[in-house]
């Protein structure tokens, strides 16, 4: 086995995966892109200097992501998200509450927005974040408890 290649893989796989995930927002696709980047490295092993890593790998990942988004009808996907005027005036400004509530951690904010704003199921949220459905449910329940309290305070304040 090529210990050197394996060592390079173990050193850089996290960074390449994180970058790929940022580019495509999907863990499975990010894994595909990551593995393709290392396969490219493997086939250009004698030409690539190790001090050019991980930049070389990140460039391959970026090119793969560009190809992906070129082939995906991203314009059409965005067009499907219609924007219409808001009709009601809820007592609580959800956007501000989610962004500023100090008891919420990034994982709670993300679960809330993906589930309630984007309509993703707990399973889909879990797949996106690399969490089990049970964990997502727990995070949502915690956040919803806080939301209920905030909602009740806002209503009481609004009535006063």
């Amino acid at each position: 086995m090529s210990h050197e290649f394996e060592s390079v893989y173990r050193t850089h796989v996290d960074a390449v995966f994180r970058y790929a995930l940022r580019l495509v927002g999907n863990r499975e696709l990010a894994e595909d892109i990551t593995s393709e980047a290392f396969v490219e490295l493997f086939h250009h092993w004698s030409e690539v200097e190790l001090d050019r890593l991980p930049g070389w790998l990140l460039t391959v990942a970026r090119n793969r992501a560009l190809d992906y988004w070129r082939k995906t009808a991203s314009e059409r996907r965005y067009a499907e998200c219609a924007e219409e005027p808001v009709t009601s005036q809820p007592a609580l400004d959800f956007e501000s509450w989610i962004a500023r509530e100090p008891s919420l951690k990034p994982v709670h904010r993300t679960c809330l927005i993906l589930h309630f704003v984007h309509g993703m199921t707990r399973t889909e949220v879990g797949e996106r974040l690399g969490l089990s459905e049970v964990k997502v449910k727990g995070h949502l329940q915690y956040a919803v408890q806080l939301l209920r309290k905030a909602w009740q305070s806002a209503r009481t304040g609004a009535k006063a």
Partner: protein, 296 residues
Amino acid sequence: MSSQSDRVDLPPEVAAALEEQRGNSGCPPPDLLQAADAGVVPPEVGERVSAHLKTCLNCKTLLDSVAILDEAPLEMEQRDRIWRRIQAGSVEKASPKRRWTAWLRVMLGPWPSAGFAVALLAIALGVGLLRQRGQTPVRPVSERPPEVATSAPVLPLEKAPVVLPPVAFLVWRGAEDENPWKPLQAALKPYESGDYSEAERRLQDVAAKYPRVAEAWFYLGVTRLLLNSNDGARDDLEKARGIVGPLSNEAGWYLAIANQRTGRIPEARRLLQELCTAPDRSSKACRGLDALTPAK
């Protein structure tokens, strides 16, 4: 989209207000949002997303939060999965047939007959050289492709947690260079952090210096399995299993995995049978035995 059973319970008025938020948001899909932020979408889409971000706090919050969450290190299972894909990808791309036909096309290009003659000469020379050497040429280590398992993995490989006997933590009364536990604990640090190449190197030293310590051979064997060095792993785990102690059964399990990966299926089955029928029955061994037993 959310199903009714999937919805987290909310007071009706809150649920209605959130439902309205969703319908009116005009927010791009989360993956598109991230991609636009990273600058890998067509320019017109990127411009639309930028304009949206100026007014949508939810999308800004989502981008910031997800950036923090996506910094989490990869799980070992994920790293192994990506590694297997790399192995599959590298073998497919390097198929000898493709290399051979590509080479022929180059040679036969503008000067067909001369190219063909050169090709035949090269074949003859190559075959002659190979016969003389009696083996295929060895490329330098850095150019060798990653080892591909000879049998498709069937028995699940999980990293063994580090468990040392109580004596490892007592004050050592003998000569310091006779104490195997300190160097073993140091060698297990890269194992625990996932640096298996370094762990292999250090555990090899410890096992060589203290050959009667089963733990050194055991963790060296598991490390080699994780590195897909299955033949080496097999030797180490046999040594671990040969030293009577609390690790015998676990060493037997991992040895079964090494045997399966190197195509020694009857040996793997025999080991699993032994573990499955032992007084402290191993349920994973029984499941493994079912997986390796052909259906009738």
